[in-house]
């Protein structure tokens, strides 16, 4: 009898958690922002998420705002949001608390720096772009250490969950559930869902490396730029086997070897195309078998990656009516996200199973105690309340920066003799944009999240007189 109040306390606690979970204003704000972004209402999308004062918690809203401001060509606001998001990442570095709020992933940091570099280039500030690209390399360097710390923290949380259960029966049933062959098979199948997504080298961003290499080649100042261009482009080509990366790598090699003159890059245009939207996480529920006095099944919720469509298969690049080439795949963000997600899976599963089994076992014990002391009706009421609470509190963490592109494509084409580059794509009636190229080497950056929606097309270069935007 004396056990019942403890179980009741647990149920009250679960009720409180349910209440807190229902206050998902941030989630709904981000969903609204995403919907507006996908429908091309970029300024409204930027205004949708409210930014909490705690920088760690403000990471995701700042990333959403920055992406939307970028598409709206509001570059000052975009940089300010990215800077705040970077502060958030640094604050999280100081105190990682995986379960309280969205923890920035390595690719968030890599993409954030890539975007900052791009925006500085658009604004004609190559010195600041250089710093952003240096930070990208730094972020890559510390990513492995950061990931290790995050996983250690997650493991500690799971351990705490076990010890806080305060009930030997719950811990014992958890161990049995973990050993159960049927559960193992089901969870292994869940993990294999990621097999189709492929993988990159750990904590590497081919898109960032490509941009870094292209920048050093196009904006080359000295010998160290030439060497770094070779290094970054060789790395990109090694990771992606991409044709544009190979072309630029060979040009960088020739430049570094002194076989190409300083002005040789004036004859080329590099096109970087951000295509479509990256994968979203959705929740999928599984049933876990718990071997108690009578067999019980508990629901667990796990995140699953869902692929989103590309905006267009490629961009066709033309000089008037003559074709110069087309963009080719450079880097899949789907794969980048999946690479990191795969690393997180073991602790995501362990955490979900631990919580579900302990929660369910305590609920069963509470029902047994209620039945013994207050009769079947009390047990039934306890069971119904407990099940409802358990269902409501079983959620997968599906948060993420859902405004990333699906992929990067690139092209290295000869400079059009007309000085103007036309871009079109399959499914379009005619050229959707024509850009006037500045003198010297040019970098054309195109971002199209959804087909038919307003695109961002910019052109920049070391000798561009003023920021140009079409």
């Amino acid at each position: 009898m004396h056990n019942f109040p403890t179980q009741l306390k647990l149920l009250c606690l679960l009720a409180l958690v349910t209440l807190l979970n229902s206050c998902e204003t941030m989630t709904s704000q981000l969903a609204k922002s995403q919907a507006l972004y996908q429908s091309g209402q970029y300024t409204a999308a930027a205004a949708a998420p409210k930014v909490p004062s705690d920088p760690s918690k403000a990471l995701l809203p700042n990333l959403y705002r920055a992406s939307s401001h970028l598409m709206a060509a509001q570059y000052g606001e975009c940089l300010s949001d990215f800077s705040a998001a970077e502060d958030g990442l640094q604050a999280q570095d100081a105190s990682i608390n995986w379960f309280d709020h969205y923890l920035g992933r390595t690719y968030d940091g890599l993409m954030l720096q890539t975007y900052q570099a791009l925006v500085y280039l658009i604004l004609g500030q190559p010195d600041r772009a250089r710093v952003a690209l240096n930070r990208l390399e730094e972020w890559q360097g510390k990513a492995a250490r950061r990931n290790q710390r995050a996983i250690a923290k997650a493991q500690e949380e799971i351990k705490n969950e076990r010890s806080q259960a305060g009930n030997a029966a719950a811990v014992a049933s958890l161990d049995k559930a973990n050993q159960n062959a049927k559960n193992k098979q089901q969870l292994s199948e869940y993990q294999h869902l990621l097999d189709q997504w492929g993988a990159y080298e750990d904590f590497a961003s081919p898109a960032g490396s490509f941009l870094s290499g292209a920048f050093r080649l196009l904006y080359m100042e000295d010998r160290s730029d030439a060497d770094k261009a070779v290094f970054q482009l060789r790395k990109t080509y090694g990771m992606t086997n991409s044709e544009p990366a190979r072309q630029l790598y060979e040009l960088a090699e020739q430049r570094a070897a002194g076989k190409l003159s300083r002005n040789a890059m004036d004859d080329y245009v590099v096109v970087l195309f951000e295509n479509g939207l990256g994968p979203f996480k959705v929740e999928r529920r599984y049933e876990i078998f718990i071997p108690l006095s009578r067999p019980v099944y508990a629901g667990i919720a796990l995140p699953v990656l869902v692929e989103q469509p590309a905006a267009y298969p490629y961009l066709e690049l033309q000089d008037g009516s003559s074709s110069l080439g087309r963009t080719l795949p450079l880097c899949s963000i789907d794969r980048l996200v999946a690479t990191e997600f795969r690393k997180e899976l073991p602790w995501i599963i362990a955490s979900a199973v631990t919580k579900a089994v302990i929660k369910t076992t305590l609920q069963v014990i509470a029902m047994e105690v209620a039945s013994k002391n207050y009769g079947r009706d009390a047990a039934l009421v306890t069971g119904i309340i407990g099940s409802a609470l358990a269902y409501a509190t079983t959620n997968a963490d599906v948060r993420g920066w859902n405004l990333l592109p699906k992929e990067y494509q690139a092209a290295v084409v000869p400079r059009p003799s007309s000085g103007r580059l036309s871009l079109t794509a399959p499914g379009m009636a005619s050229s959707f944009v024509q850009v006037e190229l500045p003198p010297g080497p040019s970098l054309v950056y195109v971002k199209i999240p959804v087909a038919g929606m307003p695109a961002l097309v910019t052109v920049t270069g070391p000798r561009a007189s003023a920021p140009q935007q079409n």
Partner: protein
């Protein structure tokens, strides 16, 4: 005694290494000022600005390349160098020549007055009066990061070069290093 000191030194380092609240390894304003002053003093003390035939060198300011992970106002560094050079009495700085065009466009703009009858033409700057630079100043700030467990050691190098424009030869070079240890 030496062993004891070594022990305490190692213990202090280990304590430092295990400390979670280490500051970031970024350059502070004090670091920046110190490095700038050291480099400038090195340059002035080297005697490289002592013109053999007397008089002052005309110096053009080239570029300081920031190859760090920190947004640094390199103009601030250049301003310190310019002020120190001018105060030394051994050099003057030209503002009529710069990598992205003249720093002060007024020298060229004032010459447009040659076509304006409202101005006393004897006071208008004429052709052939500007003085070409003898030397140029350029530099680089480099950062190297070495991870130590959870923390990192950042080494910053402030490099300055004075080039003889006529010959293209490096006239003088100096370097200052700053090490920072943190997270």
């Amino acid at each position: 005694m030496k062993k004891l000191l070594s022990f305490f030194a190692i213990a202090a380092l280990l304590l430092l290494a295990s400390c979670q609240s280490l500051p970031p390894t970024q350059l502070t304003a004090e670091d920046f000022n110190w490095a700038a002053e050291q480099t400038i003093n090195q340059m002035l003390n080297s005697g490289c600005l002592n013109k053999p035939e007397g008089g002052r060198y005309v110096v053009a300011i080239s570029r300081v390349k920031n190859e760090t992970t920190q947004y640094i106002d390199v103009d601030q560094l250049l301003k310190k160098i310019r002020v120190a050079m001018l105060n030394s009495g051994k050099a003057v700085i030209t503002t009529a020549v710069g990598l992205d065009g003249p720093e002060d466009a007024m020298s060229a703009a004032a010459r447009q007055l040659a076509a304006d009858a409202n101005f006393n033409q004897a006071t208008v700057a004429g052709q052939g009066q500007m003085i070409a630079p003898d030397l140029s100043v350029s530099g680089k700030i480099i950062e190297q990061r070495i991870p130590y467990g959870k923390n990192v050691q950042s080494e910053y190098y402030f490099q300055l070069t004075i080039t003889d424009i006529k010959t293209g030869l490096a006239f003088w070079e100096g370097e200052q290093q700053i090490q920072k240890y943190g997270r």
